[in-house]
């Protein structure tokens, strides 16, 4: 199963979502492969690994399993990115059927994994389109501010145009509101806006949490750095914990 985490807007929590869900699934016994499609290579930072051109090797050098780096965590491997990802995109841009290049390359390694999670870069490029084509399902993290909510609409427009030409087979799992602030009026208004637009496809929001920003600085996932953080466990409402990546993970397991 290949899950793409996409949104054309940057800074909405795509990498944090990818790494947190990936490690969560691996801790639950799944064999997980994370694929960093962003030349900034932030997945490596988030896992405390050295950046490496694994994606370049996979797409250009047909390296297959040699492109994969163990994360040092049970059940969790990763295909990392670095500046050479830009070069890979330029090479792909000159090729025919470039939208299918990522899917074909992943086919070479997927037999070892239950789930692959693709962390798309912001913007629209050949790799984001490739991620949508390769994915069995996709999820759109949306920071709860006006511009990011608009960005979610743009991401869905890309999806609609791919559907039109029959290139997209994946299911739209929903939108994951991130950086939710319980006390902020703006956060509440944007969440309401998403609920009106997407109804049941809105996943429980992930609270804004400084721990989520600190964890990559220590090369640790949230499960390692702050297992009791709000971003993971959510906040107390009516006697129960609501929101947070733990609920995201539960919903993901129900959906896949």
């Amino acid at each position: 199963m290949i899950l793409a985490i996409i949104n054309q807007k940057g800074g909405v929590g795509k990498t944090t979502t990818t790494v947190t869900l990936g490690h969560g699934l691996a801790m639950g016994g799944k064999r997980v492969l994370l694929v960093d499609l962003d030349a900034q290579g932030n997945v490596a930072d988030a896992l405390g690994l050295k950046k490496r051109g694994g994606l370049y090797q996979l797409l250009v050098a047909d390296a297959g399993e040699r492109a994969v780096t163990p994360s040092g965590r049970m059940g969790l491997d990763v295909i990392l990115s670095d500046k050479r990802t830009v070069e890979a995109k330029q090479i792909l841009a000159g090729k025919s059927f470039r939208e299918y290049a990522l899917r074909d390359a992943l086919d070479l390694v997927m037999d070892k994994y239950d789930v692959a999670i693709l962390d798309a870069a912001p913007g629209v490029d050949v790799l984001q389109i490739g991620a949508l084509v390769a994915a069995d399902a996709f999820l759109i993290p949306v920071a709860l501010d006006h511009l990011a909510v608009v960005g979610a609409g743009d991401a869905l427009a890309s999806v609609a145009s791919l559907k039109k030409v029959g290139a997209l087979q994946g299911d739209f799992l929903g939108v994951l509101p991130t950086m939710w602030e319980r006390v902020s009026k703006e956060s509440h208004q944007q969440l309401l806006q998403l609920v009106r637009q997407f109804e049941r496809l809105v996943w429980p929001p992930v609270p804004r949490d400084v721990k989520a920003r600190e964890a990559p600085a220590y090369g640790q996932t949230l499960w390692e750095y702050a297992p009791n953080s709000r971003a993971l466990l959510g906040v107390q409402i009516n006697g129960g914990c609501q929101g947070g990546y733990r609920q995201t993970l539960q919903r993901l397991l129900r959906e896949i």
Partner: protein, 127 residues
């Protein structure tokens, strides 16, 4: 969500949106009213229909002990529930069949003489 149309949403999302709407509503209240709402929401409140004589006796106990009626009710119920759990207090002989579809029994109380007994006890400064 807006009261005009029922929207099908995830239960956790519904709880969060409901909480947000309550917070928005509270923002329009005065400072004193907000403090009152905060105090109220931190309390566990239930409404029970008590026999008027029991309610009056509860107030008498509260006055004698210098505590709130809720405090008196909690203390007395604690003891009664302990006795019930130990099997010392049963409902046998204090109930008759109910015609309500919701309940099997109607509980009957024999309060004869209890009020006088309590009044005497309170007049002597409580137990």
């Amino acid at each position: 969500m807006d009261g005009r149309r029922r929207v099908d949403v995830d239960a956790a999302v519904a709880a969060i949106v409901g909480d947000g709407q309550q917070r928005q509503k509270n923002r329009t209240l005065s400072k004193a009213r907000r403090a009152q709402v905060r105090r109220d929401s931190s309390r566990e409140r239930i409404t029970l229909e008590l026999d008027p004589v029991i309610a009056e006796m509860l107030r008498m106990v509260a006055r004698a002990e210098g505590c709130s009626p809720a405090g008196a009710a909690n203390r007395l119920l604690q003891t009664a529930i302990e006795q019930y759990a130990d099997g010392e207090l049963t409902f046998n002989g204090h109930r008759r069949p109910s015609r309500s579809p919701r309940y099997e029994w109607v509980v009957e109380l024999d309060l004869n003489g209890l009020r006088e007994k309590l009044e005497n006890s309170c007049a002597n400064g409580g137990v």
